[in-house]
């Protein structure tokens, strides 16, 4: 393993500490900071002449593993690390494949149009087959170039060979880094815009006079509702969302924007859901099977929605897609917060020291609920609406299979 360069070591350490102390919260925020940090690491990394991609991948993995270990619950960190690894692999392939003899686009520019377009298609096909698991889609597309395609997968591994053949080494080595950093910047841009991209679809889902129920607060949800408010008038019922009670804040924000808002207690969810047309909630993470990790209490909402056949819609950015499958999510993907959020310190002190004969009281304060995919009606992501059953395919689009398990 290659360690990160010493000058960015400090900022990595700093971020890891913050993660460990849970000082960075919210998946979008975490994802952004992770991407920025990795961009810094990559740009500071001195690259050898050969095996640049491998070195970059190594460095990103090393830093990434540290960050993941610092807060294994914040799946967005792992997701961003995987996304960046995927960017590196993709850039690497697209840089090296032109070097493969006979497919170079630049060398063919004075030849006929058909030839160049053919070769471009070949490059694309090579890229795809190199990076993605074989699928029906890929199989059909790679038919026109049966000879070149098999060569391509070897490219990323044996890139040193092809690199040595290419004339201008420096330009290529510079190009890889530059392209990767550009890719990360694009990713950051996506993260920045995902709220508005999700919100753009609001009008398709929220109808006039609908009653929408939600729990707690999420920024994408706020923007989603406000976007719909521009065209439609509807009502929102907000469960306050113990123990953070962010529903209070959301209700205030929405009411200030002129949206008819009703705050209910969490326990009244079942009572109210019979009059609700749609449940729209934000998520913490979306697992590979289409299950959702969401703020605590959401499972109850999902069950109540299912009982009354109310659509349960989850807003999620692509950065929340996690290629892992949930195994015992209530324990392994959950965070236990301080009991002080539920019971004040000293609240029970009088009866605790009287009553305890070795008996203790537990005050449980979990952070997340896991919602199985069968309770979710729809995901609305920045790339459109998807079924829970389609999530695995989305994941294949954004991550490389070799990164699913990082080690």
């Amino acid at each position: 393993m290659v360690a990160a360069m010493p000058d960015c070591q400090a900022s990595v350490d700093d971020f890891v500490t913050k993660l460990r102390r849970r000082q960075v919260e919210g998946s979008q925020n975490t994802a952004k900071q992770t991407a920025e940090l990795l961009r810094l690491v990559i740009s500071n990394q001195r690259l050898p002449n050969v095996g640049q991609a491998a070195v970059l991948i190594d460095v990103v993995k090393t830093v990434g593993l540290r960050m993941i270990a610092a807060n294994p619950i914040e799946l967005a960190v792992g997701n961003i690390v995987r996304r960046i690894l995927h960017i590196i692999r993709e850039e690497d392939v697209s840089l090296t494949s032109p070097a493969v003899p006979g497919v170079s686009v630049e060398s063919d520019d004075d030849e006929s149009d058909t030839k160049s377009s053919y070769s471009a298609a070949a490059v694309a096909a090579a890229n795809r087959s190199a990076l993605r698991a074989p699928s029906l889609h890929n199989l059909l597309e790679s038919i026109p170039d049966p000879v070149k395609a098999p060569e391509a997968p070897a490219a990323s591994v044996a890139d040193s060979e092809s690199r040595s053949r290419s004339g201008d080494r420096n330009s290529v080595s510079w190009k890889l880094k530059h392209n990767v950093i550009e890719g990360i910047s694009e990713l950051l841009q996506d993260l920045e815009n995902y709220h508005s991209q999700v919100a753009e679809q609001a009008i398709e889902h929220i109808h006039q006079n609908e009653v929408i129920l939600t729990l707690g607060r999420s920024r994408s949800l706020l923007q989603f509702l406000l976007e719909a408010k521009k065209k439609r008038s509807f009502q929102v019922v907000i469960a306050e969302g113990a123990p953070k009670y962010q529903g209070h804040i959301l209700s205030k924000e929405l009411a200030e924007k002129g949206l008819q808002t009703t705050v209910i207690t969490d326990s009244a969810i079942f009572a109210m859901i019979s009059r609700v047309n749609m449940v729209i909630v934000g998520a913490h993470a979306v697992m590979a099977n289409g299950g959702v990790l969401a703020p605590v209490g959401m499972h109850m909402v999902a069950l109540a929605a299912r009982r009354h056949a109310v659509p349960f819609v989850v807003l999620a950015g692509v950065h929340k897609l996690c290629p892992q499958y949930p195994h015992n999510p209530y324990t392994l993907l959950n965070d236990m917060k301080s009991p002080a959020e539920i019971v004040d310190f000293g609240e029970l002190s009088d009866c605790l020291d009287v009553g305890t004969g070795g008996q203790s009281t537990y005050v449980v304060n979990p952070t997340f609920d896991y919602i199985p995919p069968e309770l979710v009606s729809l995901f609305i992501t920045d790339t459109g609406g998807h079924n829970p059953s389609y999530v695995y395919r989305l994941i294949a689009e954004y991550y490389s299979p070799e990164d699913y398990v990082l080690q």
Binding site: H248, L254, V263, T265, S267, F270, S274, R275, I342
Partner: protein, 657 residues
């Protein structure tokens, strides 16, 4: 007109319908009895439309100074159930006080003043010890005889109390005027007046009613102008108008009564069906009810549209007017014991289905003990009216729970069934004994039986989950612990009442291992739970469990995880009504209770009422569908929810009810 005639015709036959009067041939005073039975049909949850014909409740004048109760007095009631186990309903449990306002000693004198009476009653409570009770009564009777106020009230029939709203306004100086007019007024026949008289006066009556309505509207306007103003000054303009106005007012008071009987006669045929509740989005009827009510209430701002049909008043606005009226010696004034209980409902000092019901029965009991039949009245008739008045007062403090409705229905049936030839003292002793028996059998013994059943469902190693605070669940858990069972308890709590803390404290003091968390974590904690025990406010005929809000959520999650849900409920809380959701019938709590988060310094919702787009909804109950319930544990045994109608059917046949 038509309906009136019909009511007269079908009178005796229809009287037999329903469970109220199994033996229809009640000797003597036919018309009077008819009225009673009819009144019964319009009983409980709907505010009864009967106004007392001659309300003469004398507040026994205590010599000792009595302080006005303030909202801050959180002194628990002295209500005692004879031989209640472990005092579990006893609202005297100081646990709740943790969150309470700073308590002052102000109200304690009141409690002391009347606890004497209630304790005296409690002594005599074991069924049928008329001897002791009579002694108590005779004392009281003497006390009353010496009361000078009695002399000022004319004994002739037909002095109407006016509408209770104006009870304060038509104060003492108005009463002689009324009495003077009384004999002339054609529209005020003696309430037990014969049929022809009714028909003759009907036209005049209607006119009178119109006038009364107009007068009431005016009064309401005036009232709105000066809400805070106490009693007397508002009555000034009315009095200045002189006799005619007074007459009309009086007639108006009579009219609703007549109307009430008519309505009930129409309903008589479908007596089995519980009476429809007052829908608060029905403007006419609400206005009518408002006029009748003793309490001034202000509607909350920013009402949730979906819940327009339910009453919601600004928390505590009733209190000042009620306090001001505590010493009023007005004819319609409720009995002090009832008044006290009403205030306690209002301030939230008494909560929980059983404790509220017991407190109400105790209050009504002391009302009955202090009752004395006015001249030219029959006890049976007058007492039902009186009871209705008191119940209306309690409703204006807080809507009745279903258990209370059932208890009132029982009491009124008992009064109606009294033998009119019985001497007053015996009749009262009889009623008191009946009330005691009801509390004993339906609540105390029933709970013991339920505990016996439920404890068998707790095994060693169980993790029992419960929600909020239910007295019966608490007793079950304590009993199981006493039996040496090894189990632990998960308590789910919900805002804003956080009743679970009360249970947590009580269980901790019994050395039971507890886990405490909030509603949202139910899904998380349910994985380790093996049993769910829940209390209920009522079980409806379709098996729906009507209980404190959050019960449905807990039951749903338990159902999803395959954990058996057991509902513990006495059969007196069962009700014939059916309900599919929690919206059609519910109770709205104080929305401001949501604003403050326990342990937080600030809340985002402060000043919510300024934004009319923002509404807070604080539901009190919800309805759990029957399919989430594995079993309902009653004193009659453990039954599936589908058997609820069976129990209802059999139970209503029971001779005791």
């Amino acid at each position: 007109m038509d309906s009136r005639r019909r009511s007269v015709v079908i009178g005796p036959k229809v009287r037999q319908v329903g469970f109220v009067t199994p033996n229809a041939d009640i000797p003597g005073d036919g018309s009077g009895m008819e009225k009673e039975v009819l009144n019964l049909t319009a009983n409980s949850p709907t505010p009864v439309t009967i106004v007392p014909t001659r309300p003469v409740i004398e507040v026994p004048q205590k010599t000792e100074p009595v302080a006005v109760p303030s909202p801050s007095t959180r002194r628990p009631v002295d209500v005692e159930i004879p031989s209640a186990p472990a005092g579990s309903y006893n609202p005297a449990d100081p646990v709740l006080e943790g969150s309470s306002l700073p308590s002052s000693k102000g109200g304690s004198t009141i409690n002391e003043g009347y606890s004497v009476a209630s304790e005296g009653a409690a002594e005599s409570s074991p069924l049928g010890k008329p001897g002791t009770t009579t002694v108590g009564f005779s004392e009281r009777v003497k006390h009353k005889a010496s009361d000078p106020t009695i002399a000022t009230v004319p004994a002739e029939g037909g002095v109407p109390g006016g509408k209770p709203v104006k009870g304060s306004k038509v104060s003492n100086q108005a009463i002689p005027a009324l009495a003077g007019v009384d004999s002339k007024s054609s529209g005020a026949p003696p309430a037990d007046g014969s049929k022809p008289l009714k028909e003759r006066t009907s036209k005049a009556e209607r006119r009178a009613k119109q006038e009364a309505d107009r007068a009431a509207k005016q009064a309401a306007r005036e009232g709105a102008a000066g809400t805070g103003a106490a009693g007397g000054d508002n009555s000034q303009p009315k009095n200045s108008k002189g006799k005619k106005d007074v007459v009309s007012e009086k007639k108006g008071a009579q009219a609703p009564e007549r109307k009430g009987t008519d309505k009930s006669s129409e309903k008589e045929k479908k007596m089995e069906v519980p009476a429809p509740r007052l829908q608060f989005d029905d403007k006419e009827r609400v206005a009518k009810a408002k006029r009748r009510s003793l309490v001034e209430q202000t509607e909350t701002k920013n009402r949730v549209e979906l819940f327009r049909h339910l009453p919601q008043f600004v928390y505590g606005t009733q209190l000042p007017s009620l306090e001001a009226k505590f010493f009023q010696d007005c004819a319609t004034h409720p009995h002090p014991a009832v008044y006290k209980v009403g205030l306690q409902y209002l301030t939230g000092d008494i909560v929980g289905g059983n404790s509220r019901c017991v407190a109400m029965l105790m209050a009504l009991r002391s009302m009955i003990m202090d009752y004395e039949t006015p001249a030219e009245k029959t006890l049976v008739r007058d007492l039902v009216t009186r009871t209705n008045n008191h119940v209306n007062f309690l409703i204006s403090c807080r809507p009745l729970s279903i258990s209370m409705g059932n208890a009132i229905r029982f009491l009124k049936a008992r009064i109606a069934k009294l033998d009119p030839t019985l001497p007053e003292v015996e009749a009262k002793a009889n009623l008191v004994a009946q009330i005691d028996a009801f509390m004993q059998e339906k609540i105390v013994f029933a709970d013991k039986e339920i505990i016996k059943h439920a404890v068998t469902k707790i095994r060693d190693g169980d993790v029992v989950l419960t929600h909020g605070y239910s007295s019966i669940v608490e007793m079950i858990l304590v009993r199981a612990k006493e039996m040496g069972k090894k189990f632990r308890v998960v308590i789910i709590d919900s805002r804003p009442k956080l009743e679970g803390r009360r249970l947590l404290r009580s269980l901790l003091s019994k050395d039971i291992h507890c886990t405490y968390t909030h509603t949202n974590a139910t899904s998380y904690i349910m994985q380790e739970v093996t049993r769910v025990f829940l209390g209920a406010a009522s079980v409806l005929a379709n098996g729906t469990v009507y209980s404190r809000v959050g019960t449905a959520c807990v039951a749903m999650v338990a159902h999803a995880y395959g954990v058996p849900v057991m509902i513990c409920c006495e059969t007196y809380k069962f009700h014939e009504r059916v309900q599919l959701d929690s919206i059609t019938s519910n109770e709205l709590g104080d929305p401001d209770a949501l604003v403050k988060v326990a342990g937080w310094k600030e809340s985002a919702l402060v000043g919510w009422a300024e934004n009319d787009q923002l509404q807070l909804l604080n539901l009190t109950y919800d309805a759990t569908p029957a399919d989430y319930v594995s079993m309902i544990i009653t004193e009659l045994g453990m039954v599936p929810p589908t058997s609820v109608p069976v129990i209802l059917r059999e139970y209503r046949k029971e001779p005791t009810l």
